[in-house]
């Protein structure tokens, strides 16, 4: 038992060691390099089971081959029209040449450090060529944010591929703002703008109100005057018709009409305030004169 057990344990240990260092699996997310005494001899990019010579002879280094996201700290830049902006970007990159990557930057931390340098340098240079309206504008022609970011991403990609074996897939602007010191002046501008709009609204309202009132007055005048015109016409018609009727009737005996109408007028204009001086010899009073005979005549 003793004789069999010890070699068994020993051989199991050796076997496990060999299996462990010879065979290894490469995950779907990884890319690997096999080094022989520290010298790279193979790049493994396909996921699955791989082999190499046991450990001290050949060793392996594995890298992440996924898209890696890096979010450097926001920095301040100057636009072409000398305005300060604070920009926060994120970048997506991946390792495409693990050998170059290993030699140039060793690991992810090193890569991120260098990427930040590149991005800030390129971004600074490119932002300086464009006015602020290229970053924010409602004008389709002026707005070039997408182009600017693509440009930065291309330049960074070029440098990173050449130097570090890194592909920069995309750089996007997460945030764009004015520095805190500049914000008050922006707010002041917004206040003024609002006040202008408020004033505009009010005077627009007044203008429209005045128009409506004038229109109302105009219509009133038109309606009333038209009605006056019609009314006068109708009255005239009535007068004319009446005149015609009078003429027709009275024309039959103008003298009698004159006689009657004169007497009617007397009825109308002689009232208590009228003082009449009647000549004693007028026909109506002739009987008064001859009192004696007149009396008998009167009694008759």
């Amino acid at each position: 038992m003793k004789r069999r057990l010890l070699p068994l344990i020993l051989s199991v240990i050796v076997l496990v060691y060999i299996i462990n260092t010879v065979l290894f699996s490469l995950d779907e997310t990884e890319i690997g390099i096999v080094l022989q005494f520290g010298k790279p001899i193979r790049v493994l990019s396909k996921a699955g089971l791989h082999w190499k010579l046991p450990d001290p002879i050949q060793t392996k280094i594995l890298f992440d081959k996924r898209v890696l996201v890096y979010d450097p700290t926001a920095s301040e830049f100057l636009t072409g029209d000398k305005k300060n902006i604070v920009v926060d970007m994120y970048l997506c990159w991946k390792i495409i040449e693990p050998l170059k990557f290993l030699q140039a930057v060793r690991d992810r931390g090193g890569a991120e450090l260098r990427l930040e340098d590149i991005v800030n340098a390129e971004a600074g240079a490119i932002f300086g060529n464009y006015p602020l309206t290229a970053f924010v504008s409602h004008d389709e022609g002026e707005m070039q944010l997408a182009r600017i970011m693509n440009l930065i991403s291309e330049r960074c990609d070029q440098r990173a591929q050449q130097q570090y074996g890194i592909e920069v897939i995309d750089i996007k602007m997460k945030r764009l703002n004015f520095p805190d010191e500049n914000k008050p002046s922006v707010f002041a501008r917004m206040w003024a703008e609002r006040e202008r709009i408020a004033k505009k609204y009010r005077s627009e309202g007044q203008e429209r109100a005045a128009k409506i009132k004038a229109e109302a007055n105009k219509q009133k005048e038109i309606i009333l005057s038209e009605a006056y015109e019609d009314a006068e016409k109708i009255r005239g018609e009535g007068d004319a018709e009446a005149m015609r009727i009078y003429a027709q009737a009275f024309g039959k005996d103008p003298d009698f009409y004159k006689f009657l109408r004169t007497l009617q007028s007397y009825e109308k204009f002689l009232d208590e305030k009228t003082t009449i001086i009647l000549p004693g010899d007028m026909e109506l009073l002739e009987l008064l004169e001859k009192r004696g005979s007149g009396a008998s005549h009167g009694e008759e």
Binding site: K2, F135, H138, I169, K174, K233, A249, E272, I277
Partner: protein, 561 residues
């Protein structure tokens, strides 16, 4: 045949225990119950005890004194194992005492499984004790007694689970009870190991807890195990088969409802989109599986964070609310954005997404959440930067939600990372707090404008109809005038004609009569002076008297009545 029955009982016991461990482990993983996990450890430590006994028996059958080296190795292993057992007990204990609330899933299955293991343990211990007694084997009796604790520990688990079903958090407590039992087993092994080590005897003679049973006679053990020796091949085989089965069973994996699984063999994807249910893959070094919930809708919040715990919610969230307390926490860096007319606007954005392609999500991008957030921010800024503040606040709010969704999906597709944006919403968009009053006053001005117009309209509506009414009245009056005038004329004409007719028949008489009638009517009311024919009209000045009747009368000397 007596001995065969004993050995069979021992073997059956080990086999069943292995299966029990597998069952409990599976249940523990599926349900997340800590007590079940502890119970699985408990059963596992039992197996170790039984195995140790059997191996010892096997060796002791040879009747040779084992070498000192072997004894030392054996005993040391026993002590190490007892420490491992303690450590696992400690780990479970810490978890049980932890703050984290344990959520138990698939409760009915866990309860059913525990129930099955209780019944199994029960029959196992009854069976072992029965066989032990009838065959006069104290070791089996003792083993049976031990299986009884196993049953108790499972009962504790059952109590814990049932309590959970009724709303009591008994699971950690049950786990602690089981931990206690585990510690006792560890203690037994430890004790035996130390004792054997100190006395220099082989472990099997200490025979673990069997020693505690007073009537155990060493010689009897030797005789008993001697008989088992011929069966050691079977023992090895059964043990191996049990171990292999247990190992193979670790290849079982489960995708819960809503989840999808990916299977990798040596890191390479061999199966994608495995649907919910229990599935099998090869065990550990060969294959592995990852499950992820692909139905769940995830959220990204930009400009704010929803607080998990909050108090003092304000009555209403206004534009100038600073969100110092309440449900939301504001993030000014994220929320303030530049608009196309270089104003600043305060925007909150919620993006909802789900995993569309799980393999891409897992294997294409290293930090999907961070990227998702960054891309969402980039998309919203990009679109806000193209529009003026006024249209953003009003007309284009919904339009821009749609545009952001489109743009964002475009960004994400470019990274090929298997995310599907299901909804983009802008719950809040308003001017920055600093300029809110100015915006409010614009709203006031706009109200004023409306008011002016409304007032003018009401003036219009008052004046014009009134003018129409006046016009109408004037017309009607004119018409009435016309009719009246004509009628009157007609009447007068008729009167005249009638008079004329009469007049013509007796001209002079009528004339005189009419004249005199009129005079009678007219003259009574008037002041009258009658001048005698001789009086000169020239000297009479009536002017002073016309106003006063009395003085005139006086002048005339009462010439009238």
């Amino acid at each position: 045949m007596r001995w065969d029955r004993k050995s069979a009982a021992a073997l059956i016991s080990i086999g069943i225990n292995v299966l029990l461990v597998a069952l409990k482990l599976l249940l523990a993983i599926v349900s997340g119950s800590l007590a079940l996990l502890a119970d699985a450890f408990h059963s596992a430590s039992d197996i170790f005890v039984s195995l140790l006994v059997l191996i010892g028996i096997r060796v002791s059958g040879k009747k040779t004194i084992p070498s000192a080296l072997r004894i030392t190795i054996e005993n040391t292993i026993a002590i190490i194992i007892s420490i491992v057992i303690w450590y696992s007990a400690y780990a479970i204990f810490r978890k049980a005492m932890g703050e984290k609330i344990i959520e138990i899933k698939m409760l009915p299955i866990a309860i059913l499984g525990t129930f099955i293991s209780i019944i199994t343990s029960y029959f196992l211990f009854r069976y072992k004790i029965h066989v032990g007694r009838t065959t006069n084997s104290p070791s089996l009796v003792a083993d049976g007694e031990h299986s009884r604790t196993d049953m108790y520990s499972s009962i504790a688990v059952l109590v814990g689970l049932t309590g959970y079903m009724m709303g009591f958090r008994l699971d950690p407590l049950a786990a602690i009870v089981v931990v206690f039992l585990i510690i006792i087993v560890g203690l037994e092994i430890f004790q035996s190991g130390i004792k054997a080590l100190l006395t220099g005897t082989s472990l099997q003679f200490i025979a673990l807890r069997l020693e505690r049973i007073p009537f155990v006679h060493k010689i009897e053990f030797v005789r008993y195990y001697e008989k088992i020796v011929p069966h050691r091949g079977i023992i090895i085989w059964v043990t191996t088969i049990c171990l292999v089965t247990a190992y193979l069973l670790t290849g079982l994996y489960m995708a819960r409802p809503g989840e999808e699984a990916v299977v990798q063999r040596f890191g390479r994807i061999i199966k994608k989109g495995v649907m919910p249910g229990i599935h099998y893959r090869l065990p550990f070094p060969f294959e592995k599986s990852i499950q992820l919930n692909t139905k769940r809708i995830n959220r990204v919040e930009i400009g704010f964070r929803t607080r998990e715990r909050f108090e003092d919610e304000p009555e209403a969230y206004l534009w100038e609310t600073r969100h110092i307390k309440g449900k939301y926490e504001k993030n000014y860096d994220e929320a303030l954005m530049l608009t196309g007319d270089q104003n600043i606007v305060d925007v909150w954005l919620v993006v909802q997404y789900r995993i569309g392609n799980m393999a891409d999500y897992l294997f294409r991008v290293d930090a999907p959440e961070i990227l998702m957030k960054g891309a969402s921010e980039a998309a919203v800024r990009y679109l806000i930067a193209r529009e003026d503040i006024d249209v953003l606040l009003t007309k284009k709010r919904h339009w821009i939600e749609k545009e952001i969704k489109k743009t964002l999906q475009g960004f994400l597709d470019r990274y090929g990372f298997g995310i599907e944006v299901t909804k983009v919403a802008i719950p809040v968009i308003h001017p920055p707090i600093e300029v809110v009053p100015a915006f409010r006053s614009v709203a006031g001005a706009s109200e004023d404008k409306e008011r002016y117009v409304r007032e003018a309209e009401s003036y219009f509506n008052r004046i014009v109809p009134r003018a129409r009414a006046d016009a109408n009245r004037a017309l009607e009056e004119a018409k009435a005038y016309r009719i009246a005038k004509v009628n009157r004329a007609k009447g007068e004409a008729k009167r005249f004609l009638a008079q004329l007719n009469q007049y013509r028949t007796a001209r002079n008489i009528s004339m005189t009569r009419i004249y005199l009638e009129t005079m009678e009517k007219v003259l009574p009311g008037t002041n009258k002076f009658i001048l005698t024919p001789g009086a000169s009209r020239d000297i009479l000045d009536l002017r002073p008297y016309t106003g006063t009747q009395g003085s005139l009368e006086g002048l005339m000397g009462g010439g009238k009545e």
